[in-house]
């Protein structure tokens, strides 16, 4: 009994010394080199579903090689915004945009933009793990094959490299020819990350990648994001604010389609400028 009491005591002390929002303080991270330029730039960017304006006049610079988290209550347009970056919203009938969204200085929605080539540069991992009902190898090799890699040796190299980057190689190297649907949920999601990495994108879009996973698998994905930080520009939509604070350098808070606040994560979580942001992260509404 005294032991555990003591333990709670110390925790309490720790917390009280830094204030209520300090549970969101980001951990120590390695330095990012050669990043920090605006990679994706939104200018007065709006997204409509028919008449309904789902994302309203967003202005933002997403910096390269850093992790940007997008938070907000459900239905706030955070996923819509993320999916607009590699034009996955094209699949939805009646969806159109106004304003500009630039990637590498070129308009994503420009007339001469080829969305297929664009998506090769901007990879995406979805909420639910969605491996193809094929072997692990074929899943990873799917993208490279699409883009013309035929040679088996090269493919094997790509598959191994991608799986290593996604921290999955050690777990699956002996069963690459097995159906990917046989993997656990967490493994499947890392496989999806690996599959995306195999086409060598510059940006990685993660749409609530851990919402269908258990805590252990979630931790692995978060570790993976840290590994990839510095090599890729990463954007992650999450409804878990602690996750946002753990993994991201910058955070965007959306509310009812409006980008309310966009700031370095530590600042947004500890000293939010906007009252709405504070209300949200302190749990007054969700």
């Amino acid at each position: 009994m005294p032991m555990s009491l003591e333990a709670t005591e110390t925790k309490k002390n720790d917390n009280s010394s830094t204030g209520a929002l300090d549970i969101y303080l980001p951990p120590e991270r390695k330095k990012v080199t050669g990043g920090g330029q605006p990679h994706v730039v939104a200018k007065n960017f709006s997204i409509y579903y028919g008449e309904f304006e789902a994302v309203k006049k967003v202005n933002a610079d997403i910096l390269s090689k850093y992790v940007t988290a997008i938070i907000g209550p459900s239905g706030c347009g955070k996923s819509t915004f993320l999916r607009a970056i590699n034009r996955m919203n094209d699949l939805i009938p009646n969806c159109h945009t106004t304003g500009a969204l630039m990637f590498d200085g070129e308009d994503v929605y420009g007339k001469f933009t080829d969305e297929v080539l664009l998506r090769k540069k901007i990879g995406m991992v979805f909420q639910k793990p969605n491996p193809f009902p094929k072997s692990i190898f074929d899943n990873i090799a799917y993208g490279p094959r699409l883009h013309g890699v035929k040679d088996r040796k090269t493919l094997e190299g790509i598959v191994e490299r991608s799986l290593r980057k996604a921290a999955l190689w050690d777990e699956v190297s002996d069963r690459l020819d097995k159906n990917a649907l046989g993997l656990s949920g967490g493994q499947q999601q890392r496989l999806c990350v690996a599959r995306t990495l195999a086409v060598e994108p510059e940006i990685l879009l993660l749409d609530e990648p851990t919402s269908a996973l258990d805590p252990k698998a979630t931790a692995k994905i978060e570790d993976l994001i840290q590994e990839l930080r510095g090599s890729y520009t990463i954007m992650i939509v999450t409804h878990n604010m602690q996750q946002a604070s753990r993994v991201s350098d910058y955070t965007m808070f959306f509310y009812e389609g409006v980008l309310v606040e966009h700031a370095p994560t530590a600042q947004l979580f500890t000293r939010p400028k906007d009252q709405m942001t504070e209300d949200y992260i302190t749990g007054r509404f969700s």
Binding site: D104, E106, D114, L117
Partner: protein, 387 residues
């Protein structure tokens, strides 16, 4: 220094295509979609062609002989000189077997679909579905063979007793139930409990006796029926009803499933029994879908060829009396199938074209009823989705 710019440029060119390439891509895409559309339109083209070509060969008949004889006369002597093409009896035969099969298949099919969707547990349903699928899969000529070789002799030799027993098995439980419900309903107004009980008892006995008498009289009459030929309208109606059943069951089950769980739960929560829930809540909600199912099932019976050709007796006169299902009949489909062999020797004759006129008639009926059932299904979906 410059390298950075260059790499930047090459990078952007990775997803920005030149105007020319863009144009080519667009054209390719449109062309591809056009080819797909063309293939998908093939069905529509075929439907148009079917109407066109059947009508093309049907028109000469009407030009030669007019409409009146075809629809109003029952004298079908296509091989005589001069020939007579009165098809009334044949049209009547088609309607008769279709009605007969509908009388059997519709109640059974609807009840079976209710049972499938609301009563049977999932584990049993798994075994019932293949049975229905098998009923649907058996080729019509196999049904026809069964009707001709097995069922017709059975009906001819033991028709009376078979009809009597069927009557007893089906009607007796209904009458029993009716007696119980009727005596209950008739005695509700009696206030005194003891009197009510004895009145009910008395009513039960009286009504039961009446019912048994009625059952016996009808059964006796059925047993005494003489069946001259086993290949008759009754035989065909029964077999056709089993061929129409799978369609009715599966389409109306879909309609029942489309009625949400909320409606069912709402009714149960008010203290309704399962039967009351189904009859008063679910069936009305699914009624239009069930109607569509019934139309499709009836069309299946009307359009069926082999069974009626083999087992209807092919006699082209209206039964006497007109409701006599134990008489032989002849249908449109069987006439087309049976007469073409002789008629197509003389392409261009009225005898050849009259068969196309019958085909056109069938085609138009099936087309119209298909449109109606489709409309009904669309409307139901709209109502259920609350639009």
């Amino acid at each position: 220094m410059n390298g950075d710019v260059a790499s930047n440029q090459s990078r952007s060119s990775e997803f920005i295509v030149s105007a020319q390439k863009h144009k080519i891509q667009k054209i390719k895409q449109k062309a591809g979609e056009a080819i797909l559309l063309l293939i998908a339109s093939f069905v529509a083209i075929v439907v148009f062609f079917i109407f066109w070509f059947v009508a093309r060969d049907a028109v000469p008949f009407f030009r030669l002989r007019g409409f009146a004889e075809f629809f109003t006369s029952a004298d079908w002597y296509p091989a005589d000189d001069p020939p007579k093409f009165g098809s009334l009896a044949i049209i009547y035969g088609s309607l008769m077997v279709t009605l007969g099969s509908a009388l059997i298949a519709v109640p059974m099919g609807v009840i079976a679909s209710i049972c499938l969707s609301d009563i049977l547990p999932f584990s049993v349903r798994q075994y019932v579905k293949p049975v229905i699928e098998m009923l649907a899969a058996i080729p019509s000529v196999a049904y026809g063979f069964f009707a001709l070789v097995v069922f017709a002799p059975l009906l001819q030799n033991n028709g009376g007793p078979i009809l009597m027993w069927t009557w007893w098995v089906i009607a007796a439980p209904f009458f029993l139930l009716a007696v119980i419900v009727a005596s209950e309903l008739l005695t509700t107004s009696i206030a005194k409990e003891s009197m009510k009980k004895s009145a009910k008892m008395a009513l039960n006995i009286v009504l039961s006796l009446l019912a048994i008498l009625f059952l016996y009289v009808v059964g006796n009459h059925l047993q005494g029926l003489v069946i001259m030929s086993g290949t008759n309208a009754l035989n065909v109606s029964i077999i056709l009803s089993f061929m129409a059943l799978p369609t009715i069951v599966s389409v109306s089950e879909d309609a029942l499933q489309a009625v949400g769980r909320e409606l069912r739960e709402g009714s149960y929560a008010l203290g309704a029994t399962r039967a009351e829930t189904i009859v008063k809540t679910i069936l009305p909600a699914a009624s239009s879908g069930i109607l569509a199912a019934v139309i499709l099932g009836i069309m299946r019976a009307l359009g069926e060829t082999m069974v009626v050709w083999m087992a209807s007796g092919n006699s082209s006169s209206i039964p006497v009396p007109f409701y006599n299902y134990l008489d032989s009949v002849r249908t449109l489909t069987a006439t087309i199938a049976g007469d073409m062999g002789e008629a197509d020797q003389v392409t261009g004759s009225a005898r050849f074209h009259v068969l196309f006129a019958m085909g056109l008639l069938l085609l138009i009926v099936s087309f119209v009823s298909n449109l109606i059932s489709e409309r009904i299904v669309v409307r139901q979906r709209k109502i259920l989705s609350g639009q």
